[in-house]
Symmetry: C2
Subunit: 315 residues, 2 copies
Amino acid sequence: MEILSRAEIIKAIDAKDLTGVIEEGFRAYSNGMSVIPPVGELLFEKPPGEVHIKYGYIAGDRHYVIKIASGFAGNPSLGFPSGNGMMLLFDSRTGMPECLLLDEGYLTDVRTALAGAIAAKYLAPPAVQRIGILGTGVQARMQLQYLKPVTECRRVIVLGRSTQKLEQYRQDMEWEGYSVATTTDAHDITETCSLIVTATSASLPLMQADWIKPGTHITAMGSDTAGKQELDPMILARANLVVADSKPQCMVRGEISHAVRRGLIGETSVVELGEIISGKAAGRTSASQITVADLTGVAVQDIQIAKAVYSLCST
Amino acid sequence: MEILSRAEIIKAIDAKDLTGVIEEGFRAYSNGMSVIPPVGELLFEKPPGEVHIKYGYIAGDRHYVIKIASGFAGNPSLGFPSGNGMMLLFDSRTGMPECLLLDEGYLTDVRTALAGAIAAKYLAPPAVQRIGILGTGVQARMQLQYLKPVTECRRVIVLGRSTQKLEQYRQDMEWEGYSVATTTDAHDITETCSLIVTATSASLPLMQADWIKPGTHITAMGSDTAGKQELDPMILARANLVVADSKPQCMVRGEISHAVRRGLIGETSVVELGEIISGKAAGRTSASQITVADLTGVAVQDIQIAKAVYSLCST
């Protein structure tokens, strides 16, 4: 069994465009070609922590993948990141382990950022004047980095609560080639941005429906468990198009679950990202539409990125 | 993260008595001190295969354990074993991986054999004249090996379908210090043995209820999935004591599930092995009783043996 370290994995995928790999995963998922059992979960109380096991395969594939990811909120006070993770890749004809990817959660970050880029590719309006980012953490950075091939826009405004973290974000992202303004008022985002990405751990809405201008696309990716929420559910009711990475998953977690539970949108009005990628459903059809993509994270992304890394490292 | 190979693991536990470790696991399980979510499962069709993910922890423990085990029936024709497996041990305060045990299924074999030895320790009659083994595979061997500390009896009769495999089994187990007869007729087992272990992959009963003599203990461990069966369910109805490794699991798989489904025994009459170990329920109370232990394999055994191996290798 091959064992790849985080450093080796980062080196292997450096500057590689894995958008197509993740798109292929969403397409297979929405076509019913993937086998993805319910997520396994272990919860801990003292100290609080959670472990998720996501696993499955795409029909006909040479490999199946098991991802083990953990989040322990108290870790930073001990000096290491709250999140951790690894992926295991097995031969689907024999069960033999072929590769252990000790990515420490890095590949989850990458596949999540790639999903955001794909959502923007199909849903953002044609001309983006400014990108709005809510949040200053790892995903707030990676979402912006992975938007580079999708839009030529390099003007950004970022929202955060801590001026120190906003300033650090500004410096880091300017180094990446962006021109970055900072704010603590979400109105500054909705008034000036037509491509907005929410990447916070908020449990209450950060933006209200009547703030959103026509021609805006919002990718909400912070809300991945039942208790989290970043958007006023009325935004989804007002949107011309609401897109889920996984319809079944978004019915129980994420922004869509809040809107469906309150009867503001119907299940049938939600379209899957994979359906848009494969042309079975339309994406944005006019510059003035409001679109929302709700990304909760699907095992098929893990399967696809693990296969891609293994393939890059084996050749 | 420490990585242990199968060879290192075999060396580490060589001649170590891990009975107490597994007993402690069953005790914690029956006391409700373990957190064990439902088994994760992936099934494959071409070629046929199955993957099981068993995981959990014991309350207050330093570690949680995830086991990934696979069975692909076509593997031997490709030159390697049908079964494979690994265990992962994590720090339950941080989620950090501490040890990968690449045992290739060996530890599952050991913890299964240890459960058989524990069942015999609490349930076999005081004087065993002859041990009966059904099956000639890996578990048919390991069950016998692990019975050594439990009984002084070294006379064995083994049942199998292939004379070649029976002869091989006889030679191997005589080398282990047993005197071994072979048979293809299960009557020879029931008539001469008071401690019987079934370790086959049968899907139809191998022994009928009226063959079983008073004073017999049977450990059935071959039937671990819903489709398998080794005993006439009337044996369980006739038994004075029916013991499960896990009551909830034995209600859906194993010998007990067949007997309960047919209304031959009641759920409430089944006792858990951990209850007997902890003294909350009685084991065998007279030499003439018929007792049956149905072992389907519980994640708490994996948790305990992984912790034990890690501890042995860390010191």
